[in-house]
């Protein structure tokens, strides 16, 4: 029999205003096992906690029930208090009579009755509590960053600066990501390359950072503190250690017709290439699908001209398995495909381009050397029209319901860049709303309108028609309430952004959850925004939701600090409220293994003693370090073999019985 103390909190008037606290104290005293009951205005305060500690000692309590706010708020506080009193922290039970009762009810009599029922349920559960003890697991002091854009680079640099080793896995031949493709950055208009490339070099030169470019994550095993990740280094066909990055191979390569990924397909690149001049590492790769040597067996010119003999056509993919304590997702975004947006004629007209293509077109290192021209006839456009929210804030099936967040600002930037270079150009922007929250953002947009004379038109474009020497636009001016039919020379589409395609499969490997738009889910949308609900997985940059560069860098640093907080620990204490299988009841069906979102359950041969008969059965085993105690396996187990410690089936049943009494 437990000796239970019940402590009822007033929470000022938050609880006491709606629930008769004295009545609760009076009513629970005769409950089975209750040897002490008291109330206090603020149970979570120093004095309140002392009251609990003293009562535990004075009445030799074996269990404690606190009637207060949600356990999410103060469960840890009260568990610590119990620990101080020499009680196992898991002997504390919370009856949530604030969020679940006083805050949502008005009638005092009814609320008091409900609070009493909730308290009785908690007492019934506390009766069956038993002490639980967390396990310890080791921490590998190395982090893996997936994605080498500005988010991944910043996270890696911050972790490395703190003295921990970090690896970056990047799928393309160079780190740098989308930011490397941009021209200027809002709202200060500094050149993206000028602020990014030093960071790329820092990452490459840092003694604690290892780059795996042209690589991908193939497999993830293990759990927080002890992940084992298999990285596939795709065959570069160029020997990393021998190549000097002289570039002669690319120059001489006769197969120069492949669309340049870095330049958004606006120009071509050779089959052996580095994506851009400042690429890190400055070691080219051979695109085997374009290379004549791989396609026809003839050529091999690059091998002939390469002085250090770095070309290696026989090179194969290499698999590297490494151990990590933490994994950071920094996989970033890509613009959505526009095939469902036929009205904008993107696929029909070369003069209709996306914003990312515009970045390349206006970039001094881009395919035109920064000259803004129509791709159809190489003419300078006399008028350019921007269309915002292409695919964003679109609740139909083809679009994304969310706001892509960066488009209003980069469109204002694009408009300004044109006006700056070619002041005579007429620039129009079609918008739904202009959204510019952010430091110096609204001032920036207003400058585009008032100083540079960019014409903002509230309304959506219904159709873009390529008439050869110009584009015809049908639209609605909503402020004027008029249909518009106007001519323009070039259309730029502010295309919605979405997580990269591979984000979903990587998230699955990490057993980290994603939302319906394939953005990574945070552990808490407000209070834990850079952690995944899966322990040891952290989020950096746009993989978590649309954000601009300043926000990305801030979040990257936040993720790094969380990772550092993990890596400095020598051991991890795990939550003991995990699932526990009973081998004697397990029928080996593996349903629990399939429903477990964390990959914590496996089936192993296990010797059991079935009424004196010793046999080896194939039964469920739970990895306590991976288990998050969600209970999915418990409710799905057809034979009742699975139970959740601290939330056992018997305890839940006892709570229900108490409620129905």
């Amino acid at each position: 029999m437990q000796r239970i103390g019940v402590f009822v909190c007033h929470c000022g008037t938050n609880i006491a205003g709606t629930v008769d606290v004295d009545e609760i104290v009076k009513m629970v005293k005769p409950e089975q096992g209750v040897v002490h009951a008291a109330d206090y205005p603020y149970m979570c305060s120093e004095a309140g906690q002392s009251m609990i500690i003293n009562a535990v000692k004075a009445h030799n309590l074996s269990g404690v029930v606190i009637c207060s706010c949600s356990p999410r708020m103060h469960e840890t506080t009260f568990r610590k208090a119990a620990d101080k009193a020499g009680l196992n922290p898991y002997m504390v039970e919370i009856a949530n009579i604030r969020e679940h009762c006083s805050w949502i009810h008005k009638d005092k009599a009814e609320a008091t009755q409900k609070a009493l029922i909730l308290t009785r349920a908690a007492i019934a559960k506390a009766q069956l509590n038993s002490p639980l003890f967390p396990d310890e697991s080791p921490v590998t002091k190395r982090a893996l960053v997936i994605g080498g854009g500005i988010a991944g680079i910043q996270t890696a640099l911050d972790i490395a600066d703190a003295g921990f080793e970090v690896d970056i896995v990047e799928s393309t031949p160079s780190i740098g990501g989308k930011m490397a493709q941009l021209d200027k950055t809002f709202p200060t208009l500094d050149c993206a390359a000028c602020i990014l490339t030093p960071k790329m070099v820092d990452a490459s030169a840092h003694e604690n950072i290892t780059l795996y470019t042209y690589s991908q994550v193939d497999k993830v095993e293990g759990f927080v503190g002890d992940f084992t990740v298999t990285i596939r280094q795709k065959a570069r066909s160029v020997d990393f250690d021998k190549c000097t990055g002289c570039g002669v191979c690319s120059e001489k390569c006769p197969s120069k017709k492949s669309p340049s990924e870095f330049d958004q397909g606006l120009c071509t690149r050779p089959a052996i290439y580095t994506p851009f001049a400042q690429a890190v590492p400055n070691v080219p790769v051979i695109d085997r699908e374009a290379c004549l040597k791989f396609k026809t067996g003839k050529c091999g010119l690059c091998e002939t001209v390469c002085a250090p003999k770095a070309i290696n056509f026989e090179q194969e993919d290499e698999l590297v398995a490494r151990k990590y304590g933490a994994v950071i997702m920094a996989t970033g975004y890509e613009p959505v495909a526009l095939d469902k947006f036929g009205e904008y004629s993107y696929s029909d007209s070369p003069d209709v381009i996306t914003s990312l293509e515009f970045e390349r077109l206006t970039n001094a290192a881009g395919p035109t050397g920064g000259d803004l021209i129509r791709l159809s006839d190489k003419r300078k456009p006399k008028s350019v029209t921007f269309i915002q929210c292409v695919g964003s804030r679109d609740v139909t099936q083809r679009g994304k319901a969310y706001c892509s967040k960066i488009c209003c600002m980069y469109t204002a930037k694009h408009a300004m860049l044109i006006k700056e270079k070619y002041p005579d150009t007429e620039v129009n922007v079609f918008y739904i709303d202009v959204r510019t929250p952010g430091k110096a953002f609204d001032e920036f947009y207003r400058r585009a309108e008032s100083e540079y004379g960019v014409r903002y038109i509230k309304g959506q474009v219904g159709k873009v028609i390529d008439n050869g020497d110009h584009l015809q636009i049908q639209a609605v001016d909503m402020l004027d309430n008029k249909k518009m039919d106007m001519k323009t020379d070039m259309v730029v589409l502010a295309t919605a952004i979405e997580p990269v395609k591979s984000a979903k499969s990587i998230a699955t490997m990490l057993t980290a959850s994603i939302d319906t738009n394939n953005f990574m889910t945070e552990a808490h949308p407000k209070l834990r925004p850079v952690e995944s609900p899966t322990a040891g997985v952290f989020l950096s940059g746009v993989c978590q939701g649309p954000k601009d560069i300043p926000e990305t860098v801030a979040q990257a640093g936040a993720a790094a600090s969380k990772v550092i907080g993990l890596l400095v620990k020598d051991k991890l204490m795990s939550n003991p409220c995990t699932a526990k299988p009973d081998a004697l009841y397990c029928n080996g069906c593996s349903i629990c293994e399939n429903v477990c979102p964390y990959g914590a359950i496996s089936y192993e041969d296990c010797e059991v003693n079935d009424h004196g008969v010793r046999e080896v059965w194939h039964v469920a085993q739970v990895n306590k370090a991976l288990c998050q105690g969600c209970g999915a396996c418990v409710v799905t187990c057809p034979s009742g073999a699975m139970d959740l410690q601290g939330f056992s089936n018997r305890q839940i049943q006892a709570e229900v019985d108490a409620i129905c009494r």
Partner: protein, 264 residues
């Protein structure tokens, strides 16, 4: 395959040719159109008022008649198709409307209920999804080789796309595929899904003329020699602007011609 057939008023008067050729071709292509008995005018315009019910009842009656026979209901006129399809969708989705309409239906001579069970099909959807354009091409006796035909969709068949589920509203292909199947060359022009002006021609004739002329000019500029449509109202508006240089006909007329059914 037997379908219930809802011709609509215009096909009994101005657009007889759309109706007659459709029936002739159906026989050759192996499906039968059984005209719904005592059908009433669909109302011609889908009522936008949320509490409007009287103008939805004729469509419900026709839809119910088809469901009694366990047949899909086929239409030709874009406007009729639009009204029937959307009213049917309402009867599936809108519980309030379902209740009100069924309260009315309970007062009919033979009371019945309807809950959107019928499949509403356009004649072109039968050609595409049931017959198949490849099979149609195989039955063509008199391919219209070398004819440059512009497909004119109008609005009613395509929008709202979530309900009509007819084709991509911005880049439709069904009529172009049909044109290829009858051996002709489709001319794709950007204005093929723009509005002809619709009923505005009754009130502001000049505006409708301007709108339809734009479409005709655009089709001509891309080399179209003739336009085809499924909609009597589109045809009415399109016939006027540039009838001399760009004739507009019903798609069933060319279908009949290709199948060798054209009466001299």
């Amino acid at each position: 395959m037997v379908y219930s057939y809802y011709p609509g008023c215009t096909l009994k008067t101005k657009a007889k040719v759309l109706d007659k050729n459709a029936r002739l071709c159906a026989e050759v292509l192996g499906f039968t159109l059984e005209e719904v008995e005592e059908w009433q005018c669909c109302g011609a315009v889908y009522p936008m008022g949320a509490d409007e019910i009287a103008t939805k009842l004729p469509a419900v009656r026709a839809l119910h008649a088809a469901s009694e026979k366990e047949q899909g209901i086929v239409t030709l006129c874009s406007a009729c198709h639009h009204v029937l399809k959307r009213v049917n969708e309402d009867m599936c989705q809108n519980k309030d409307l379902q209740t009100t309409v069924n309260n009315y239906l309970a007062q009919e001579e033979t009371p019945y209920t309807y809950h959107g069970e019928t499949t509403v099909l356009h004649y072109l959807e039968i050609l595409r999804d049931q017959i198949g354009f490849d099979n149609l091409a195989a039955k063509v006796k008199n391919p219209l080789t070398g004819r440059k035909i512009g497909a004119y969709y109008g609005c009613m068949l395509l929008r709202p796309s979530s309900v009509m589920q007819f084709d991509d509203p911005e880049n439709p292909t069904i009529l172009e595929d049909f044109i290829k199947a009858i051996g002709a060359e489709p001319v794709v022009y950007p204005y093929r899904n723009e509005c002809c002006g619709g009923y505005i021609s009754l009130k502001e004739k000049a505006l409708a003329e301007e709108m339809s002329q734009k479409i005709a000019d655009n089709a001509l500029s891309k080399g179209a020699e003739v336009l085809i449509t499924a909609c009597p109202l589109c045809l009415y508006n399109m016939k006027k602007p540039d009838g001399e240089t760009l004739p507009t006909v019903y798609f069933t007329e060319l279908l009949a011609e290709a199948l060798g059914l054209k009466e001299e």
